[in-house]
């Protein structure tokens, strides 16, 4: 699975970081930072939830090693 985040769309809701802080963080301005673009298999469900919960639809996910 790959994951990326559009920092322009991000509204700093923090839903992704609450879903899994292993994959998502916030910088000093509160904007999303993706810590790993290829999350571990056990993180995949949480990353999918993060993408679903993101209010500004800033998170993109897909199958395979890279994308976005």
């Amino acid at each position: 699975m790959w994951v990326s985040a559009d920092r322009e769309r991000c509204i700093s809701g923090g839903r992704c970081m609450a879903a899994t802080s292993e994959v998502f963080d916030q910088d000093e301005d509160g904007i999303v930072v993706v810590l790993t673009s290829n999350p571990a298999p056990e993180q995949e469900d949480r990353v999918r939830k993060a993408a679903y919960l993101c209010p500004s639809r800033a998170i993109r996910i897909g199958d395979g090693p890279a994308g976005g």
Partner: protein, 412 residues
């Protein structure tokens, strides 16, 4: 721009309607929810708008850029008489569309980020323990709103903004005056008093730079031809001060009522404190304190579920009913603190109490933390807490959308 649609059809469902139970939507909304996801309802001024009770439809519409949140538009629906007051047109941030919305929200994002919220949590815990100790010293009966539910968020937002807490009786009373007003005139009067107060406060911050809090920081960034004018800052200050304490205090109050009226759930939570964060989201889902996930006006025709929302038509998304869409929440009317634990943790946060889309609540992480602290400290320090009045006799708010109680007598 199209003329706002109006109708004299008295048969249409009249919005809003009061709750019969503090944590359940009005019986009339429950009936609408059983009939489908989209409804036509009639407002106080005779205008007809759409009311959304379906979760999927709500998410789609709240994230749709063709739906405007601009309260200064002539076709933006005033859901209650008080929302016709000039002070509400516009409300900072939630009442603006991009690009202004995005610029102002970005200015505030660092102060409301999850990291910042986690950093201030120990201070909020200390505050809650001090208030609980004061209650124990005073002895029962106590009004939990004044003694605990209100001071927690009120002190937290004062500190965060740089508003002197010693002025709390003034700004709390005027906020209630503004939010519970039955007419536009009363809302405007209370709102202007708050406006003048904040104007004076910001003037002092401009004269003496370097003070603490968000307003002190932003006062140094004001430019009349830039991204943040002085009027913008005043509107932001007003929105944050109001939004920062009233709904959270009422969520603490009604959350306590809900927990006390479900002793099995309270016991389950005491036995498993790790379930608290998920239980907070379950309480947020159930109580749906504002009862509204968002109000918008369509700027273009939007097709949804075989219906067409026409340009110029108003849309109100019900949080209490979208939070009870059985397709998303099985046994939707049940309070179950274990609904969202374990692997299912994130899915329990699907409730739309904080809205969805770019206007999702700026203070949601702060509110969640305050609620976690408020409930855990209260039931730890005063384990024998009980209602001091029968549930039916609670003085609940009426005639509006924002739920709450005027007072909450408790004993132990």
């Amino acid at each position: 721009m199209n003329a706002p649609p109006t109708t004299a059809n008295e048969e249409l469902f009249a919005y809003p309607q009061d709750r019969a139970c503090p944590w359940q939507p009005s019986p009339g909304y429950q009936d609408l929810g059983r009939r489908g996801p989209l409804h036509r309802v009639r407002l106080w001024d005779g205008r007809t708008i759409w009311m959304v009770t379906g979760h999927t439809q709500a998410r789609r519409l709240l994230a749709d850029p063709r739906m405007s949140a601009d309260r200064s538009r002539d076709d933006f629906p005033a859901v209650l008489p008080r929302l016709d007051a000039p002070i509400f047109k516009p409300i900072a941030i939630i009442g603006f569309d991009p690009p202004v919305h995005d610029v102002h929200r970005r200015l505030l994002a660092p102060d409301f980020s999850l990291k910042h919220v986690r950093a201030v949590r120990p201070q909020v815990e200390e505050l809650a323990r001090r208030l609980a100790a004061d209650m124990l010293r005073a002895g029962p009966p106590v009004d939990l709103v004044q003694a605990y539910a209100l001071p927690i968020p009120s002190m937290v937002i004062s500190e965060l903004l740089g508003v002197p807490y010693e002025d709390h009786e003034f700004f709390e009373a005027k906020t209630v005056g503004l939010l519970q007003a039955k007419s536009a005139e009363d809302a405007e009067r209370a709102g202007r008093e708050l406006w003048d107060y904040l104007d004076g406060l910001i003037t002092r911050k401009e004269r003496e730079p370097g003070g603490s809090g968000v307003l002190s920081r932003l006062a140094g960034q004001v430019t009349e031809d830039g991204d943040l004018t002085r009027e913008d800052l005043l509107r932001i200050a007003l929105a944050l001060l109001i939004g920062g304490h009233d709904t959270t205090s009422q969520m603490i109050a009604l959350g306590v009522v809900t927990l006390l009226e479900h002793p099995d759930q309270l016991a389950a939570l005491r036995a498993d404190p790790g379930a608290l964060p998920a239980a907070i989201d379950e309480l947020l889902r159930l109580v749906s304190i504002t009862d509204v996930s968002g109000v918008r006006v369509a700027t273009e025709d939007i097709e949804i579920d075989g219906e067409v929302i026409r340009a110029g038509e108003g849309v109100l998304v019900s949080s209490s009913m979208t939070n009870r869409d059985p397709a998303v929440f099985p046994r939707p009317y049940e309070f179950d603190v274990h609904r969202t634990v374990g692997d299912n943790a994130a899915s329990g946060r699907q409730h739309l109490t904080f809205g969805f889309g770019i206007h999702q609540c700026l203070g949601q992480n702060l509110a969640r933390m305050e609620l976690e602290v408020a409930f855990s400290v209260l039931f730890e320090e005063i384990p024998g807490l009980r209602l001091g009045t029968p549930l039916e006799a609670l003085p609940t708010r009426s005639g509006g959308t924002m739920q709450g109680v005027h007072t909450l007598p408790v004993e132990w």
